[in-house]
Amino acid sequence: MNLLWLQSGGCGGCTMSLLCHDARDLVALLRDAGINILWHPALSEQTGAEVIALLESCVRGDTPVDLLCIEGSMLRGPQGTGRFHMLAGTGRPMIAWVRDLAARAKHTLAIGSCAAWGGITAGGMNPSEACGLQCDGDTPGGLLGADYRAAAGLPVINVAGCPTHPAWVVETLLGLALGELDADGLDALARPRFYADHLVHHGCSRNEFYEFKASAEKASDLGCLMENLGCMGTQAHADCNVRPWNGGGSCITGGYACIACTEPGFEEPGHPFVTTPKVAGIPTGLPSDMPKAWFVALAALSKSATPKRVRDNARVDHPVVAPALRKARPK
């Protein structure tokens, strides 16, 4: 399958992240699955006119585009002209190219939250009128419209994240190449469920602190980041802790909260990112399907039950109390 990768209103971080994939030979892995890279801005040799020729061939349908991967927001500004990003050397807005190419693509993938929802570029007052391929924030639509379906029948596959995890991209590509990824494999926001059906909270190494509501109070504290430092792990659809980044890390192991970068609208949480909005001392953001009342009760109870180890370790940047040794076997 031919893979064509274009970047627009993003930071290129999704590509950089992809290149961190732990495969011994990423290119061979893709090639082995029958994926032929037509052009990738970071990897391919072709520059300039050669690229333009290729794009035009694809638009014409001369060169099939099986996997159209778009990284970066679709910048409709200023005033819908798309001129905030004219593809270099073409004098044509990127959104135009995308529309044309998407019309030809067998599968269209939005790589990263930028391409999926508009992402970080849509922050603030969204000066660039950024949106995703098929979503504008949490509103269906986006550049291609809610009704867009690629040639294979699937909507834009939103491999969202900022950046998106290399394995999310690779598995999506391989899944499509091997026919393992179908409509059932996408969630309501067209994200691949193999990662989107997880919560960042799953497998978080601070789980014990969460269980006892032993919370970090400041940056570098070891406790759970939800109560005070804005962690949205219990709501963020991603497997960042089950399938860690860069050999074993995650936002949370890096010492900072999950900002739910896979979610539409993550760029404007409505409060400072690394703080937790509260009402009457209760975080307003709760586990996505857990009623607040229960959370309140559990939180209070589990706070009372916090072992000294958990309570103390939550508020320092390194463990100061070790888990107790098991002196005797349970009866």
């Binding site: 290149l19 040799e45 270099a88 050397g89 570098s220 890096g254």
Partner: protein, 484 residues
């Protein structure tokens, strides 16, 4: 006079367009544009100052940590916070990891593949170069990608993930590092060192760092077969293609300095004036951005603290979204070459003295940084004291100004922050490539690349002149940083 519009210019970070006026087989004039504008400086207005730590790294995926570091320092400056020793070491390691990874990515993925083009078929070094460096297909890709991924696991340990980590904080690092992490980072460093010594150099890092003159470099190169290591192969190619006579700009080199320990930077801060062989200090107050040729309103130069980013798409004479930063009105070049020159590395000083800033020297300086920084990283990781603080904390003032100056991979990165009523009133970023790939200023002075491209040969029928590509990519440009 032929005008060539070269783009999309890939194997750079972001989208780049270069417009060339070719005359007599050479570039007579060049204009550089980053065609993407997102408006980060606008996005940041009114935000909680700490939110900058979320937004600004996402200016660029390849120098995410650099932006994050600059933001943290700016916030620290505003809050009056400085990291504890552990925080410094952690921050240095995190930043160095990204910077070296950038160099690595540039050398193997962006720069060297240009020498594997069929256009160079027939050259004595071509077969080796093609086998090794051919884009996507070359062995270098297969070797370099996992090596880079493994190296960036240091960031996985120290900063959770990459790009876009929030670990770097105004007061240090949000990640406490224990003995286990120290050992693992050390192991990863040693592993990366091994790779470099085995594949890039075919020699120890210390040996490379010890090369103190052009003759020493030449002698080292001659000691083994060109294909015995990637650097030697580059040197071979550089000699063959006289890359040292390609892409020379103003020979004024800016470095903000980097990797402080106890406040003292590992790399010195200053401005190296090659023609005069003098080192001058950097006063950020000498910095002003000129938007005269950008699609921006209010084009007159402004210090970043006073800077304002407002789009004017119809601006006459504008051909770029990029502002034109000037240091005391002068065009400067930044990057590894600048850093090493400012820091006074003898080989680099020698090279610059002889041939100034050029394609070869820029690459050499970049490669040299592997040899100099990796050992430093090893020292920083060993210096970490598990159990001691990694982050200082303090309140965010309602009214403040902050400045964060960092050496990103590509050079001097500055963040200027103004806080009013507890919110961001102004946030201006001047990225390295903004310095290097700036358009003409109000005085009409071309930016560094624009100057460097003048004189570059353009082959017959070349739509995308190879030499131009060499020059452009030698700067390791990042257009998403340039225009944000």
């Amino acid at each position: 006079m032929t005008r060539l519009v070269v783009g999309p210019f890939n194997r750079v970070e972001g989208d780049l367009e270069v417009t060339l006026d070719v005359q007599d087989g050479r570039v007579a004039s060049a204009q550089v544009n980053s065609p993407l504008f997102r408006g980060f400086e606008q996005i940041l207005l009114g935000k909680d100052p700490r939110d900058a730590l979320v937004y600004v790294p996402r200016i660029c995926g390849i120098c995410s940590v650099s932006q994050s570091a600059a933001a943290a320092r700016a916030l620290g400056d505003a809050m009056g916070l400085a990291p504890p020793p552990n925080g410094e070491f952690a921050a240095n390691l995190i930043l160095a990891n990204e910077n070296l990874a950038d160099h690595f990515t540039h050398f193997y993925l962006f720069f060297m593949p240009d020498f594997a083009r069929d256009a160079y078929a027939g050259r004595p070094w071509f077969d080796a170069a093609r086998a090794r460096f051919k884009a996507v297909e070359g062995t270098a890709t297969a070797d370099a990608l996992p090596a880079r991924a493994a190296f960036l696991q240091i960031l996985g340990i120290l900063a959770g993930k990459w790009p876009h980590s929030l670990t770097l904080q105004p007061g240090g690092s949000a990640r406490g590092i224990g003995a286990s992490e120290k050992i693992r980072v050390h192991a990863l460093l040693r592993e990366f060192r091994g790779w470099l010594e085995r594949h890039l150099f075919g020699d120890s890092l210390e040996a490379i760092a010890a090369l103190d003159s052009i003759p020493a470099l030449q002698a080292w190169k001659a000691s083994r077969a060109p294909a015995s290591s990637d650097f030697r192969l580059f040197l071979e190619i550089a000699d063959a293609l006289a890359l040292d006579r390609l892409g020379r700009a103003t020979d004024r080199f800016l470095s903000y300095g980097n990797y402080p320990t106890a406040g003292s930077p590992f790399f010195a801060r200053g401005v190296w004036h090659a023609p005069t062989g003098t080192l001058a200090p950097v006063a950020h107050t000498d910095i002003a951005e000129d938007a005269s040729h950008a699609w921006m309103a209010d084009a007159h130069p402004l210090h970043p603290w006073q800077g304002d980013t407002r789009v004017d798409i119809e601006r006459l004479g504008a051909y770029s979204w990029c502002k034109a930063p000037r240091l005391a009105g002068e065009v400067v070049e930044c990057g590894a070459l600048a850093r090493q020159a400012v820091d006074g590395h003898p080989l680099i000083r020698d090279l610059v003295a002889v041939s100034g800033g050029n394609v070869a020297n820029r690459v050499i300086a970049r490669v040299l940084e592997f040899a100099r920084v990796v050992p430093a990283m090893e020292r920083w990781v060993r210096a970490i004291e598990p159990g001691e603080a990694f982050c200082h904390h303090g309140p965010m003032p309602d009214e403040a100004q902050g400045l964060g100056m960092v050496e990103a991979a590509r050079g001097a990165l500055g963040h200027w922050l103004v806080i009013r009523q507890g919110r961001i009133a102004n946030y201006q970023v001047v990225a390295p490539t903004t310095w290097n790939f700036s358009p003409r200023d109000a005085a009409g002075t071309p930016g560094a690349l624009e100057q460097a491209l003048v004189g570059t040969p353009v082959g017959e029928g070349e739509q995308v002149p190879l030499a131009v590509q060499h020059v452009v990519r030698s700067f390791d440009p990042c257009m998403v940083c340039t225009v944000h």
